[in-house]
Structures are given as C-alpha cells and as structure tokens.
Amino acid sequence: MKKILVVDDEKNIRELYKEELEEMGYAVTTVSDGVQALLAMGTGKFDLVTLDMRMPDQDGIETLRKMKEKDSTLPVIICTAYEEYKHDFGSWCSDAYVVKSADTGLLRETVKKILG
C-alpha cells in the first residue's frame, strides 16, 4: 500500500484529505507543519507528499527545499489556497500545483496520475 504524507496546518483539511485519500486505498499520515513533516520523513518512507504553502513556524517553500534535499525523487504536490503562484511552481521543484477546492476531484486525479 502506497504511503502519503499530508502536511497542512488546518485540522479539517488534514481530516478531509485523509478520508478522501484513504478511500482511494492509500495509507495516509498527517502532520500540521513543516518541522513535523521533516521528522516524519525521518521515521518512515513515503511515496508522496501533499504540502500546504502557508503554515506557522516554517512555510511550505522552506519545507519543500529541505524535503528535496533529503530525497530528491520524492514527489511533492503543492496544495494551497493561493492560486496566483501557480505559474512559478516549477521553480519550487514541486511535481504538481493544486489549488485547494471543495471539489477534491483535481487532487485525487493528480495523486492517481503520480502514484498510478
């Protein structure tokens, strides 16, 4: 079973994504910020990360850089409420950019595309 790490400071979002993705048949671990995400990466192996951009303590960009330093092949989907940075996502070395929506269809499609 593929393991997904969901990083988001909003508890409800973590809960929603967990339910949706588990329903798709993935093992989902959730953390509430970048520091914990990096710690989680140290303890377990993940196949995919969904990463929020704006979080307390350490924002998504900083977290993304550190994640890629640890494992450059790990796919990361930026999952954010900011749609205006979409154009620049390539430079942040993420693998996909999904604007958060009540309709999780796009997220599910993206995850499916990456993990198969």
Binding site: N12, I13, L16, E20, R54, A81, E83, K100
Partner: protein, 812 residues
C-alpha cells in the same frame, strides 16, 4: 570857311568861355560846336541818340551836309557805323569795316586824322554804294581817342569838293576828343546800368532761391532765372550722385530748361559737367564745334560753372547759346553765372538737406505709427493663450484697416515637425465682393479697435467662412519643389509674389485655389525656428503690396510667432500637467489596488480553507445521502460553496498583475477550441454559432491561456445576454489601416444601455443577479496588457458587438 554862327542860338555862359566871346569865327564855331556837344553829352538821352545829335551838330557846325561816327566793337577787330547824317540810316549798325580796311578802318588803326579831297581815287577807300556815300565828294576823318587807345572814327562829309584846312582838321580832332568823353561816360553809364541789372538779377535769383525748399522746384527756378538773366537758350543743372545730397536718387539729378538745347545737352552736357566738376573751375567755350574735345558739329556757345558747397562740387550748372544768333557768352556772363552758382549751391544744399530731413521725418512718423499698431496688436495678442483665439486675433489684425495692417485676406499655416509639412489653420477675410463691401462698411461705421472687438467677444463669434475652409484644406510638404509656401519656411524669408502666373515658384493649382495673381508670404519665426507662414493678399482693392508692407508684415509676423509659440508651449504645459495629474491618479489608484489586492489575497486565502472544509465534507455527506430527501439541501450548500469559490477566483484574477508568457498563437484555433469547450452549454441555451474566420490569419504573439480567459469571459457575457437563445457570430480579420488583428463577437441579445456601456469594463459592475462584475474587467486588463483594444457597440439590428483588436507583430 563860311560863317555858321547863324545856326546857333547862343546863350551867354557865366563860365570862363565868355572870355572868348570876341574870338574869330572859326574859334567861335569850334566853341559853339563843343558847347553844343557838351550840352548833348550832359543830357539824359541814350548813347545812340547822343551820337546822332552830335554828328548833326558837327555837320552843321562845319557847314557840311554829312557826318558820321564809327565805333570800334567790343572785340576790337571791326569798326561799325553808329550814327550818321546824310548817309542811308539803314546802314547804321550794319556798315562795318575790319580794322585797317576802308578809311574808317585805316584811321582807327593809324590813329591819325585824314582829309581826302578825292577819296574815290584813294586806294584805302572802300566804296559801299548802299551806304549813300556816293553823294559826297570829299571827306575828313579823325580818330576818337581815349588816351592811347582808339574808340572810333568821326567823319565829316562834303557834297562839294572840299579841300580841308588844317584848322578844319584841328576842329574835327578837338570835336573827336570831346566825343571820346561822351562815349566813355555813356559806356560807363551803360556798364553801371548792366551791373545794376546784374545785381537786380542776382537779387531776384537770390529771392527765388529762398522761396522754396522743394529741390526739384528750386533747380527749375535756378535754371529758368539764369537762362533769362543771361539771355541764353537753355540751361541744365546736374547734381553729383552723392548720397548726402540727394538721398533718394541713384543717378545724378538733372534739371533742364529750354527745349531747343535738349539734344545738344544730351550730346555734350555730361562731358562738360564732368570736366567742370573734375577741374572745379568755370568753363567758357565760345564755340563747341571748334573745340576738338567735344566732337560736336553744331556750333554753340557754352558756359558752365561748378556748384560749390564748402569747396566740394555738388553739381554743375551749364548754359547754352545766347538768344541772339551768333552772339557768344562773355567773361562777364561767366562771372555772373559764378556769382549765381555760389548762391544756388547753398540753396540746393539746403533744399537737399531739407528733403532728407523731410524723408526722415516721414519715415519716423511711419515707424511711430507702425510701432503703435504693433503695440496695440501685441496687447491684443496677450489677452489669450488659447491658440484658436490667438490665431483669430492675429489674422484679424492682419486684415483690419486703421489699427491693423489692412490686407484684404490673410491665411495662417503652421508647421508640423512630425509630418514635415505645413498645415493651413485659419483664414480671415471676405469671400466675395459683396461680403468685402459689407465688412468694410461695418468696420468703418463701427470704428472699433481690435481691443474692442476682443472685449465685446464679437471677434470670436463662430464664423465658418469659405476662406477658413480653404485655409484648413491647405497642406504642403516642406520640400522646395512644393513652391512658395515651402520656400518661405525653408529659406526663412518673405516672398512678394507680384505675378503668380509667371512665377515658377507658384504652383498652378495653388494659384487657382487663391484666385489672385499677387500675394505675399512671410515666415513666422520664433527662436530661430520657423513655426508657420502668414499669407496675405489684396484680392478686392487690388492694392499693390510694397516693400514697406513686407517690412511691416515681417515685424508683425515676428511678434505673432512669439505669441503662437507661447500659446503652444502653454497648451503643451497644460497637457503635460493633465498627463501628470492623471498619471498621479493612476499611481494612487494602482497603489490602492495593490493594497486592496494584498488584502483580498489574504482574505480569500483565509476564506478558501474553511470553504474547502465545508464543501469537502458536504460532498462526503452527499455521497452518503445519495437517496435521501435532504440531498437537495446538500446540493444548495455545494452550489453556494462553488459560487463563493468562483468569486474568490475572479477576484484573485483581477487583482493579479498580468504577466504575459508570449508565444506565437493561432487565434482561429484558439476560438474553435473554446467553442468546443462550450459546445454543450451553447446548445443547452439554444444559441447557434456562426463563425467567419479569416483564412490567412497571421500567428499572434500572445499569452494564449490569458487570451483564452478573455475570450471566454466575452463568450459567457454573450450567452448570458441571450437568455432566450439566439445567434453568436464570431469573425476574425486583419484591419488594413491599423494592421491589427480583430476578433468580433456579435450577439442577438437586447444590446447594452448607455449606462452599462459606460461601466461595463469597471470592476464589480454587473447587471446580472449572480454575476461577480469582474469578467469583462479581467478581459479588458488582459487585452490592454497585450497592447490591444477592446470596444463595445450596439448593432443597428439589435444586440451588441464586442471587438478585440490585437497588434500583429511586425517581425512576422
């Protein structure tokens, strides 16, 4: 000798001669003759009459029947009969002998008396039958001596043979001596009279000279009075070509009196004047035909004298021919002329000076008047900085009489640096004769000054004249080949065209446009730069445009150019000020928008997260309540969430800086792609689509996703406008004139109200109950970011038309 006392009425004399009362008859005779001669001599009669009476006395006193007097002429070369008794009176003044010829000539030469009993046998005798000498047999002649010189010869003639005694000869010699006194005193008297006459003439000429200061009149006066005084046939006066003497003449002034001598003067006058002026000395030529230096065949006597002022020759006065044939000018005449000339020179110089002063005064007066007019016009011009008003003031000033320049019509053209051409701006002047007459009548009846015209506002009343239209229609490239208007600008100089038909610088069509054959142009020069041209003509009164007019017009144009330059600068400043203000407003606006944007981003982000939770979980709930009756409430929540998400999306799109990722794009395919995307929705709304896509549409360098977004917004707007279905027509093309690609969207909806038209591109303006009001503003921003245009029109047949225009990249 016979007693002759009976012939005399003797009156006793209280003087010493009474002592000789008892003298002999001869002595008595002599005494009575001398006494009679003395009486005649003292009388007031003229010399000719005196001589006539004296010869009578001598003939009778000596008991003979003839006597005569010959006088040596002024030349000293001939003796001429002056008085006679017993001879033909007609010979008087005519009978003359050269000195040495005839008895008279011989006696005059030898200065001795001669008695001839039989003169006809004497070889010295010259017989002149018509004199009447033939009736005499003997004669006695005695020289009339004045000391050593001979004045003439006195004869006593006898009709009978007469052998004269020595006492006869002595008597005649004594009588001759007495006669000498008579002649001398008479001649002195005559000289005195002549002198007096000369003085009188000089006085008269002097009076005449001071009577006028008009140079021409003065010269003619001098010529006339000297001609009269010297009894000449004519006179010419030449003035030297000195600027300080005759300012306005370029060639020597020439006054001539006497038609008879005109041709002679033309032939020899200039040479004589040259010689006299060159030598600065009077000249007397007895006969020009004998003077080799003139090569003249007609004989004529000439005197010529320089007119000297402060030892400088200012002219030459020349007199020709005595009125009496064959008579020549004398040294006295020359002397007289010299005296006259010295007075005349002063008068001429005065008159020349006066004339110059007068010219200067007239010029000063003209200048003052011009300056006053220019000053008034300058004041008038300073009343406005509005270019249109200013041009009207300028052209009105150019065409106004009295306080203006008084031309009939005036046109003004301004240069355009960008197009390198001259563009007609305004024309002021009547269109035809009737209008001209009416306008002038109006001006003269109202007597208004330019300032009054301006102050009453009458000047700016809208007058759409034919001339104004004509002026505005003129457009000339600044190329010398274009003719006089272009040349005025390029050469920075005025042109006074007096015969346009014959002037190669005036194009035929321009002449026909103006309908005049003479006009003038003057450049408007401000700070060494030609900013335009003023053209004036006198179409109606046909007054010739003078050099003075051009000079005045040039001064006027200089002033007008500065005023125009000021007005233009002022207008530019105003525009710039407006631009700066609007730029400032834009800046404030964009700052506001930036702040608003940042805030909106923040809010939308904060709202989006809870929306995701609400919507996300509701969807999960919906799956579980698939068949519940409450599902409709779930659907309402979901649709409202998605609406909120739409609002957030639109807001963020609008706030976002448009940054373009340009790539060559086929707009036609892009449109078709969108139509495919919306195929179902269009069908659902019963909207049919008509496309007319330009087959050879060039690729456009655009940001395809953004243009797509822009087109979609228009499409949505059109769909919403056609609530009950309709036709959407989409057309693409390339505009020839502006070289832009155009995409046109026409709908068959109700069209757009004026209020909507005004606000449709403003954010948050919407006529739809559920619209965000950001669709078309976003489209507008995207098109503007592409340096394109978008506009909206209502079709005449109903419905609205949106047109997007995008630049076609020039490299393609």
């Amino acid at each position: 000798m016979k007693k002759t006392t009976k012939f005399f009425s003797w009156t006793p004399d209280p003087g010493p001669r009474t002592l000789h009362f008892t003298m002999e008859t001869t002595e008595k005779t002599e005494l009575s003759i001398l006494s009679e001669i003395s009486r005649i001599s003292n009388s007031t009669i003229g010399l000719a009459e005196k001589l006539r009476r004296i010869v009578e006395v001598i003939a009778k006193g000596m008991g003979k029947d003839g006597a005569s007097v010959f006088l040596i002429d002024r030349s000293g070369k001939t003796v001429t009969l002056h008085a006679a008794v017993g001879l033909n009176q007609e010979s008087i003044g005519k009978l003359s002998f050269p000195i040495g010829m005839g008895i008279a000539g011989w006696v005059a030469e030898q200065k001795v008396p001669l008695a001839l009993e039989e003169p006809y046998a004497d070889p010295r005798f010259a017989y002149v039958p018509e004199s009447g000498i033939g009736s005499f047999k003997s004669l006695v002649a005695a020289p009339v001596m004045d000391e050593d010189s001979c004045l003439g010869v006195i004869f006593v003639l006898s009709s009978s043979v007469w052998q004269a005694t020595s006492s006869d000869i002595t008597l005649l010699t004594t009588t001759a001596n007495q006669l000498s006194g008579v002649i001398k005193s008479a001649r002195l008297f005559k000289g005195l009279q002549d002198r007096l006459a000369d003085l009188a003439s000089i006085y008269e000429i002097g009076m005449a000279l001071t009577s006028t200061l008009d140079l021409e009149q003065l010269l003619s006066l001098i010529a006339k009075s000297t001609t009269q005084s010297l009894r000449a046939q004519g006179c010419t006066i030449r003035l030297m070509n000195l600027p300080e003497i005759v300012s306005k003449k370029t060639f020597a002034y020439h006054s001539i009196i006497g038609e008879a001598i005109r041709e002679l003067d033309a032939r020899i006058g200039p040479a004589i004047a040259d010689r006299v002026a060159g030598q600065s000395r009077p000249l007397l030529i007895q006969d020009v035909s004998k003077d080799g230096s003139f090569n003249e065949s007609t004989s004529g006597s000439v005197i010529s004298v320089p007119l000297l002022f402060r030892e400088k020759v200012i002219g030459v006065i020349t007199l020709y021919n005595k009125q009496k044939d064959g008579q020549m000018f004398s040294d006295e005449d020359l002397q007289f002329l010299t005296t006259v000339a010295s007075n005349a020179a002063v008068a001429v110089e005065n008159a020349a000076m006066y004339e110059r002063m007068e010219d200067l005064a007239i010029e000063a007066r003209t200048r003052a008047q011009e300056l006053s007019i220019l000053n008034d016009i300058g004041t008038a011009m300073s009343t406005t900085l509005n270019l249109d008003r200013l041009l009207r003031i300028i052209l009105t000033a150019a065409t106004m009489g009295g306080s203006g320049l008084g031309f009939n019509r005036a046109l003004l053209l301004l240069t355009n640096d960008r197009t390198n051409s001259l563009q007609g701006m305004m024309g002021v002047g009547p269109a035809n004769w009737e209008e001209a007459g009416r306008a002038w009548g109006e001006v003269s009846s109202k007597h208004k000054s330019l300032m009054e015209w301006i102050q009453t506002g009458e000047l700016f009343e809208h007058r759409d004249s034919a001339l104004n239209a004509l002026a505005r229609g003129i457009r000339v490239m600044l190329d010398p080949a274009e003719g006089v208007l272009a040349l005025t600008v390029l050469n920075k100089q005025p042109y006074n065209v007096t015969n346009a038909a014959a002037d190669p610088a005036v194009p035929k069509d321009f002449r026909e446009l103006l309908k005049v054959n003479s006009f003038a142009t003057v450049p408007l020069i401000a700070k060494d730069r030609v900013i335009g041209v003023v053209l004036v003509d006198n179409m109606f009164n046909q007054r010739q445009i003078t050099d003075g007019d051009i000079r005045f017009l040039t001064m006027f144009a200089h002033q007008a150019a500065l005023a125009i330059e000021n007005a233009v600068i002022h207008t530019n400043l105003e525009t710039m000020n407006k631009d700066i203000r609007s730029l400032h407003e834009q800046l404030v606006q964009s700052e506001k928008m930036a702040a608003l944007g940042a805030m909106m981003a923040e809010i939308t982000h904060e709202i989006r997260n809870p929306l995701v939770s609400i919507g996300g979980f509701t969807r999960r709930l919906a799956k579980k309540l698939q068949h519940s009756e409450d599902k409709k409430y779930i659907d309402i929540i979901l649709s409202e969430v998605s609406r909120l998400e739409g609002i957030i999306h639109d807001n963020l799109s609008y706030i976002k800086e448009v940054s373009l990722q340009l790539a060559d794009t086929d707009v036609n395919s892009l449109i078709l792609e969108i139509l495919t995307l919306y195929e179902d929705e269009l069908a659902q709304r019963r909207i049919s689509v008509e496309t007319k896509l330009y087959p050879v549409m060039p690729l456009l360098k655009i940001d395809a996703p953004q243009i797509k977004q822009a087109v979609i917004n228009i499409l949505k707007n059109a769909m919403e406008a056609m609530e009950n279905g309709g036709t959407l027509s989409i057309k693409t093309c390339v505009l020839d004139d502006t070289h832009e690609a155009a995409i046109e969207f026409g709908d068959t909806g109700p069209g757009v109200t004026a209020k909507t038209m005004h606000n449709i591109f403003n954010p948050y303006y919407t006529t739809k109950p559920r619209g965000t009001g950001l669709g078309l503003p976003i489209t507008n921003r995207i098109i503007k970011a592409h340096k394109g245009k978008i506009d909206l029109k209502n079709k005449e047949t109903g419905g609205a038309v949106f047109t997007i225009k995008l630049p076609v990249s020039s490299t393609k």
